[in-house]
């Protein structure tokens, strides 16, 4: 089975994605130098999630796959977030 249109990601796009990811890495590292106390982990996780989103979208090509793939990935990550939320709510507020 051949897909009718094959999407070829241009090298330039991938290079920009890499530069963005490296920039975000730099921001994560410098953000930890500033003491944000309780917010430090939240900021680190937020930036990591932005990076993960970019990797999933461009490197893992989800943006150009059939929407079935995006629905699957979203559902798995959503269920995983629920597991973390329920487990932590049990541990923190027991």
């Amino acid at each position: 089975m051949h897909p009718e249109t094959v999407h070829i990601t241009p090298y330039r796009t991938l290079a920009w994605v890499l530069i963005t990811l490296l920039g975000l890495t730099f921001i994560t590292i410098t953000a930890t130098w500033i003491d944000l106390s309780a917010l430090t982990v939240a900021v680190a996780l937020l930036i990591a999630t932005v990076k993960a989103y970019i990797v999933l979208t461009y490197f893992m090509h989800l943006k150009f796959e059939s929407s079935l793939f995006r629905v699957f990935v979203f559902m798995v990550l959503f269920i995983y977030v629920l597991v973390i939320a329920f487990t932590l709510s049990d541990y923190l507020f027991r």
Binding site: T9, A15, V55, F69, F72, Y80, L88, Y91
Partner: protein
């Protein structure tokens, strides 16, 4: 007429990746709970990690992910030579990552910080938990890196002999997905283990 289903093949790879997310997800869950129970111990223990080596390895992995993605574009455009070069750069990045890990772990083992060591027995429970998670999670991640390296080596051979070509490259795409998963896990491991001091 040849029968194949590239979308089905990729979907199968994604389902496998979901099981990997559950595998590492369980460990991240343990980390989250232990960290909330022993936050000061985790902060103290994380001081022993070398954030500089961690940062270098982050850069190396991001570059390797980009070169894999570019190699797929190169194969799609029929540029076999460039695809092989890009994949070799990926393998070189994997090797740099492993060498860094060797020095990082080697230093810790040298000063006696490893599971079951005499020094470890003197530490508090929270610190022992941190180092156990550190060794297990980075170790399991490194194992995935080795497997990914083997898959990409096979991909290089297949690009070279033409069985991965501009009409048929789903194996390289799936190998690439696996490699990006390795990168994805490190994106979370790096701040959670190295940057929480």
């Amino acid at each position: 007429m040849e029968h194949r289903d590239d979308i089905g093949s990729k979907l199968g790879m994604w389902i496998f990746i979901f099981t990997e997310i559950l595998l590492f997800g369980g460990l991240f869950l343990v980390y989250a709970i232990m960290r909330s129970s022993y936050s000061t111990e985790f902060h103290q223990a994380a001081h022993h990690l070398n954030a500089f080596i961690g940062a270098i390895n982050t850069v190396v992995l991001l570059v390797s992910s980009a070169t894999v993605a570019m190699s797929i574009s190169a194969v799609q455009k029929g540029n076999k030579k460039l695809a092989v070069i890009l994949l070799l750069i990926t393998l070189l990045c994997a090797a740099i990552f492993m060498v860094n890990k060797y020095f990082e772990w080697g230093h810790k083992i040298h000063i006696g910080l490893y599971p079951g060591s005499a020094l470890m027995l003197t530490l508090s429970h929270g610190q022992v938990m941190f180092f156990s998670l550190y060794y297990f999670m980075t170790g399991l991640h490194m194992f995935h890196l080795v497997v990914g390296g083997i898959i990409l080596t096979i991909a290089i051979i297949k690009v070279q002999n033409g069985s991965i070509n501009k009409d048929r490259y789903v194996l390289l795409e799936n190998g690439g997905l696996y490699w990006h998963l390795v990168d994805l896990i490190w994106i979370y491991l790096f701040p959670l283990l190295y940057l929480i001091t």
